[in-house]
Amino acid sequence: MEIRFAGIRHHGPGSTKNLVYLLEQFDPDAILIEMPQETEALFEHIGSALLKAPVSILVHDKKDPSRVSYLPFTTFSPEWQAIQWANKHEKKVHAIDLPLGYFKATENYKQGLLKDFKTLKFSNPLAQMAQLAGFSDMEKWWNETFEQHSEEQDSFHLIEYMMDNLRDLDEPSNKETLVREAFMREQIRAHAKQDYERVLVVVGAWHIPAVKQWNNIKAASDKMLLKPLKKIKVDQFFIPWSYEQISISSGYRAGVFSPAWYEHLYKYNDEAPDRWLILAGRLLRKKGFVISPAQIADAALLARQLAQMRQLRIPGILECWDAIQSIMGTGNRAILNLVWSDLVIGKTVGKVDQSILAAPLFKDLEVQLKKARLSAVLKASDRLKKELDLRKASHLHASRLFHRLQILDIPFAQLRKTSNAKKGSFSEHWSLKWTDSCMIKLSEAGVWGTQIELAAAHKLEHKTGSSEHLGQLVGYLEQSLQAQLASVFESIVDRIFEVLVFNDEPRQILTLIAPLVNMLRYGDLRKMNQSSILELLERLVPNVCSYLPESSAHISEEDAELYVDELMEFNHALDLLEESDYVEQFHAALMRIVKMDQMSAEVQAACIRLLLDKRLLDDTFVLLFLNKVLTGAQDWAYAAAWLKGFLRSNPDLFIYNEPFRVLVDQWVNQLSEDHFRSALPTLRKAFASMQRSSAGQLLTALETPNSGMIGMEESIFEGHPTWEATLRSILHI
């Protein structure tokens, strides 16, 4: 029997190519591969139409699904290609690494037989090697030396030789590595007894020197090492994976920096840099940049020149970046961020066919639904409507579950907005329906965890970390409250504080207060500690109040309507909060707005009205102000906008306050027909919220003789519609 060893790097496209070349040359009848032994059962699917890489094998403790490991593959992973090759040529392929059942057995850690990943220290002799070769970065050195090769070649001897020497230099390996290597040797011994002619062992390059000693090291000593280990039962299956998750930035330890770049290297060899720059140009064009083919050619040229200066055979990802920055981005590095997720990470997402899809979350869902006494929903063929009373424990449980499923984007439970259910009330209306697409979504959500609570928390946490938008973050905060994810709740609050350091745009903060106050009001129901919301408000409200006058001054007339709404909501929120300090600060800010010139008419009027309603301004002052607005040099459009703002909170003021009514009455009467017609839309909006009955009352009030209206009508509206008709057209009745 002939046995050969191939040292690879996980997810290294160069390794993959060399490996495929070696497979063709050597034509082994069995491949032994460094994968946890249990995963062998899943190998048959690799290369079949049921899977589309990137996918991951998920392994979890059978008894405790929250203890999971992921083993991701891409098309350019050497393991993937090797197994695919074996399946295609009908050769044997075996997984020889230590079963994950050992890793998942807590006993082994307690007794110090294995070590927790977190406590492992990685010495890095490869980094030293890279330094000797004049590279500052190990990734880059490995890429240049072993990955970026055009011709497939058998460089495994070279790697083997290098590793032999490095292992000699390095301090003894940690216990875990020794145990794994002992197990792999045991497996090789076992398979060597089979009737194979040629065997290829595919393991991480680092293990080569240890496993190739299988024949020289005594089997007994390996057995000794393995004997005390305990093993538990695990479950494993495929789930879809994505380039985003495989990239190092996702926190996956054995990931690669740029999956998209590696894919290019794998597909296009030496053409990869050019192809990649073309892709960059095309992506930037979509973002509105004008990138000509000549510019792409220039960038390719610059990348080559840089590679030459940095003594590389072909440009790497850094050289391409520099070229993009200098030629497509006029020196600005930010241009890369615009296309980062497409160009560097890649948007590729894998697929797992439904027939072999298993969703651990589904098991948890069944348990949770049972607790909520809703198991029947899964089998129901009709859409089910469910009203929840959050004061009941079982209903609260259901609501929490539904909100968690919403965070995971599973279209199972939808919250129905009912007209009379107000925010903060005790009831929620849900519509429930289990479909096939729920199952697919549920399996995809498996990447976040194997239990619904943990998965939702993990996903929301991830979204929080990547968001810099305050409104969005407050939305997440509300979600975490509804889903009762206490730990995430706190980290979202922390994140909001963090973002506030560089984003304190007053207008944006203004809109955050109302949702936060709302959460305070119904948060009790969800049994969540809300002291951190109070802390947030302590920071935000004074900030809003101190910048309110200046930021209001920048509001344009077009934007005023929306802004007044925001102000009203803010006012309402402060009223609910009943915190006298805040209210005083807000009133002081409103007073300053009233005194400022150059303010949008609508905004200023709304502020005056707020103060009038709170009895902080008296009628006389407001009347004088109104008189100035209506009769002064200001034009009719200004006056109309002013009235709109003034009446926004409640137009009924004019019914019972005669002096105001008369003043406005006179103003409308003296408008020319053209001006009146132009002002009409604004005035209609001003009165839009008025009830029909109130409008009737207003009409009656105007018709009483002492309003002074009737007499003026004749003289001013000569040839015009009568005042009554005029008012009707304003009130739209």
Partner: protein, 362 residues
Amino acid sequence: MSEQMFLHQYAEEKYREELEGLAAEYKDPKPHNWILSPRAVVHFLIGGSLKSKQKISPKYFGDKRLMEVAVASLATDRALLLVGVPGTAKTWVSEHLSAAICGDSKILVQGTAGIMEDALRYSWNYASLLKDGPSMEAIVPSPVMYAMQTGKIARIEELTRIPSDVQDTLLTILSEKSLPIPELNTEIRALAGFNIIATSNTKDKGVNELSAALQRRFNVVQLPLPKHLKDEVQIVQTRLKAMDFQIELPKNAIPEASIIKLVKVFRELRNGMVDEGAMKLKSPSSGLSTAEAISVLNNAAVLAVHFGDGVISDQDLAVGMTNAVLKDPTNDKPIFNEYLEVVMKNRKDMTGLYEACKKLIF
């Protein structure tokens, strides 16, 4: 009679030995008419020692990648445009690049709003033009034309201050590598090695943005302000050492503590954020670049040596600092005052400086 003292020494003279050492050491291929290989040019700018133990002083303190891109651009025959806010060493880099590439940093056009096409093409010696009519002899070459004829680097300072129609003169020069002389029905063709390094300022308003066509001929390298306090302090120290003072200053005239204080204040005001993070500030209208910090320290040193006790005091520093920050007294004063009250007052090592500044602004 001793040698004449000049205020400014050309880079190629000042670093003659370094350039010779680099030329001797680097044997990799050079583009035509370059005196050093591209890698040697980067080495010259970044500094570090040679195998022969000779020391190469660093000229640019920043990301080596930027210098590599700059040199690679010139090696691919594309012109180089260095952009950045004032005081980010654009001119300094362009001078040292040309010294290392063609041994001549003197071929320079200063871009101004009033510049004419002649300054980029050629003008005539009118006496001989009138006497003998147009001929090559009657042509007075511009620096750009001279660089084309000799295969060297021409430097254009403040490219965006040049009016657009004059800028367009560069189009033919950069794309065809030739300069037509219609009067003589001939043209000047550029020798290999010719290229242009231009600089432009991103803070100026009312500049003439490059046309898309011209922009395409340039590779752009943005020189950033130093990222870390440590780097910036080092830049200031090195540049102060390299300065040619008319009167020799005592060795400790500029204590390191003063440099750190000033650079820190400038950085925080410029970035609108306290160095330790977590507190936002307002930024004044002035640029407060590294170059300005150097000039403030320089002035303070001269004040201290000639009118003080020879070592920069907080008062000396405060004068320069306040002048640099308050470019627009009405707007900048409250900003600076807030900084003094909120940040500087609470720093133990800055109490002296705080009081000196307070006295000055009120």
